[in-house]
Amino acid sequence: MTWIFENWDRFWEVTEVHLRLSAVPVLIGFVLSIPLGWLASRSATARAILFPVANILFTIPSIALIVITPVLIGAKILDEINVIVPLVIYTIALMVRSVADALASVPGHVTAAANAMGYRPLRRFLTVDFPLALPVTIAGLRVATVSNISMVSVGALVGLGGYGQLFTEGYQTDNSAKVFAGLIGTVVLAVLADGLLLLLGRVLTPWARTGR
């Protein structure tokens, strides 16, 4: 723990990088998974394609995806995009199912009522279906966020930034305090992000707390 305070500038620097490398993919992946999840909740064919593909994508080890990405997209090996693209893929793989389950959990009589009131599909989705799907969606988002925060470290094995750099440097210089500092940073960041999303979910779905 003392390592963190004695090297605060360095610690803060890797914290910023780690935060950026985990938050950006979650945001991109989340936005992309909404239309895909909607498709999966509507069509059995889309489901039969998207779910198995998501499962297989999820089994590709992150280290492998991170080293293959630069070759596939033509980026330099030390470009941050090499962590962002794989994490976007993992986020989508996790979130497609969450969003689809969440939309399927919206009661049929509610959507029928919205239809009867003359809601057009897009407006119904944005103001009725999606808000009601938020609790399940946010539960999925919490899992995706925590696993992303933990996975960013893997990028350090190929020289990219974040807390993982403290792991590899600590390993090379036999400095376990440094590795431990990175571990604490990762766990604290994950717990904070998880708590924040939990709170956000409560604020966005006030109706979920009534009538229980």
Binding site: F58, V71, V146, S150, V154, F167, D174, L183
Partner: protein, 221 residues
């Protein structure tokens, strides 16, 4: 791109693909066994007694956030190189899903069945072993399959500290700038994950009572 993988020279000897595959499978199965011995009794106890559920959930979430790379490196720095640090890191990874699956499975058993078991005079151990666990098997398998997927994918990192497994192809390929070897490693890990999952699916079919199979839905949605 598949040239490396299909070159016969890479399929023999002590560093050939079959050896790496078996090492990887070995890490996975031993890890799951150790994790099962720890996580199933804990999850079953908490699920059966209903006490300490928040401990299981909290512990699972905290362990999930633990970066496996850091655990691996810390144990290597403390205990030296070898397979031991690999198992510590992977077992910590496998415990949360197995424990959560067992706990959730036992909590989800129909209370009517549990009451009936007590009513016909079963002891608590009988209730747990003959009623709750068999009924909870689908969710317990769910936990194991989730854990297996993660362990197969993450065992790749073991090679960073010089251990074996398919991660060797990824890290050796990276060191030699051999893209084909890295790709072969990635593809084989994904393939192994699918095979292990199929193995569990088969085991599940054989051991779960037919009465517990979802009716009419074919098991999926």
């Amino acid at each position: 791109m598949g040239g490396w993988l299909f070159d016969p020279a890479h399929w023999s000897g002590p560093t050939g693909v079959p050896v790496r595959l078996l090492e990887h499978l070995g890490y996975t199965l031993v890890t799951l066994l150790i994790a099962a011995v720890i996580a199933v009794p804990l999850g079953a106890f908490v699920g059966h007694t209903g006490k300490g559920g928040f401990v299981v959930v909290g512990l699972s979430n905290a362990l999930r956030a633990l970066p496996t790379t850091a655990v691996l490196i810390l144990v290597v720095l403390w205990a030296g190189l070898g397979d031991f640090p690999v198992y510590v890191a992977l077992v910590l990874l496998a415990i949360p899903p197995i424990m959560a699956g067992t706990y959730a499975g036992i909590r989800a058993v129909d209370p009517v069945a549990v009451d009936a078991a007590r009513g016909v005079g079963m002891r608590e151990s009988g209730v747990l072993l003959q009623v709750e666990i068999p009924n909870a098997l689908p969710l317990i398998y769910g936990g194991f399959r989730g854990a297996a997927l993660q362990v197969v994918a993450t065992a790749t990192i073991a090679a960073y500290t010089g251990a074996g497994g398919l991660g060797r192809l990824v890290f050796d390929g990276l060191a030699l700038q051999e893209f084909g070897q890295m790709l072969a490693g990635a593809v084989l890990v994904a393939l192994l994950a699918v095979l292990v999952d199929l193995g569990f699916a088969g085991l599940q079919r054989l051991t779960v009572s037919p009465g517990l199979r979802p009716v009419g839905t074919g098991g999926k949605r």
